[in-house]
Amino acid sequence: MTTDRTVAGSPAELAAPGASIVVDHVSRWYGNVVAVNDISFSLSAGVTGLLGPNGAGKTTLLHLISGLLRPSAGGVTVAGVPAWRHPAMYRHVGLVPEREAVHGYLTAREFVLLNARLQGVVNAEAATQRVIATVELQDAADRPINTYSKGMRQRAKVAGALVHDPAVLLLDEPFNGMDPRQRLHMMGLLRGMAAAGRTILFSSHILEEVERMADSVLVIHAGRLAASGDFRSIRRLMTDRPHTFTIRSSDDRRLAAALLADPAVFGAELGDGKLSVRTADFEGFGRALPRLARVAGISLFEITPTDESLESVFSYLVRR
């Protein structure tokens, strides 16, 4: 299931112009265990959330994209460079791994400076100063990282990944350990980078984070790509799952009767002062509802889709 900015499917489709990340029929298996199974998609500028239950293959996929795992089949290119065994690719990539391990004996400033120098950044000190300010770590920048909280370590890791201003940013559970204010700040930062043309792919198990931040999602389930694209559009394509709306109107009972006469509606329920309607045709229902209300002389006060959230989409997808 695929929509808009992310492209999944055939190699011809994958050659989307301007795509920063191209994953072409990639599989990865360990003995008899298939961790990632024939996944294809391409990503261009913007924020994409990588979703999936624990063990779905999210981290494996990120490691394949970041060239830290050899694909058992298929291939990955990032910024036009094959990911596996091509260190030159890392000029364009910043990676924030999930594991907490950082060189604890270094200060954040030394750690970021190390990253800058290894990336060949021309004015490494200035770049270091800039990203330390960006992640708001100035006050603790000269303390050893092993004295940091989890959230501070995360920010140091993000600073290290940003110091060379990469075109592609890969983040594995980047908000782990951050407090709500830091999360908001980091979300704003990443959205700003995406708006400036960067391609950002991040994994998270917190749906609210993905919903707030991502332009589109990749849903991985049991090693397979279950869906990709804007999650609201994905929801529209799930024709086997009825859409549910709650409606408040001047006469819910008469409206229910009028709606049930429409072939797009196959369920209506009255309760708690609201009318709950189920339909298989999202757009058809959207056109029919005002027409039916007008004909029946009923005023509509409120219409709310109740299963349009990312959480609903995600739970539908992983239960399929």
């Binding site: 999210k58 494996t60 990676l95 290894l118």
Partner: protein, 242 residues
Amino acid sequence: MITRMPLIAVTLRGVLGRRRTWLMILLASLPVLVALLIRAGGGQPNATTILDTLLIRTVMPLLALVFGTAALGSELEDGTAIYLMVKPIPRWHILLAKMAVAASLTIALVFPVTVLTGLITDGRDALSLAEILGYALVVSAGGAAYACAFVALSAFTGRALILGLGYVLLWEGVLSGLLEGTRFLSIRQASLGLAAQVTGNVTTPPALDLATSAAILVAVVAGAILLGSMRLSRFEIRGSDG
């Protein structure tokens, strides 16, 4: 070279943890302490015996083992190596930096210890200053070969420390005394062969000749660089189960 300096600096910081540094200094000073103890007891310490037995057979490989496995293996084990691997630098640069640090630290300890031990001893086989310096160079070469081998070993396995210890104690300590052919696969025998050229000592069985000894050490270093680079270029992260 520009990118290798930060690699060397961060490796040095990592390897030179406070406790490890003191333990290694203590281990390295064993030959000096033994020589001093013998002199304090009124005896005449024998330079080549102390250097051959204690330094080349024990202290030198153990120092190289600890530094060699700490330089790369500990970073691979705790996951911090990933920050070096995701950089636009050839992986063999990373390997060379690790080897340079492990070898330099080993040499930094064994060279002065050899000189000090040589100067303290004045027994039957007392060495001239030139011989002492020659011996220190030999020990440095042997230590560097060990260090490179152990860095490369830690690129292959997380159990490099145990396997390295097995190589030093079982292969070189036991098997090379029983099976003469294994001497050609022994850094210790190559080091002892070079040392015998410096001191002129005649041993039973006879030590390896100069060319063979030098060839073994060169082959060890070259093989370690080659195999270690190939392994690191195919580095795969562990624990990708998410």
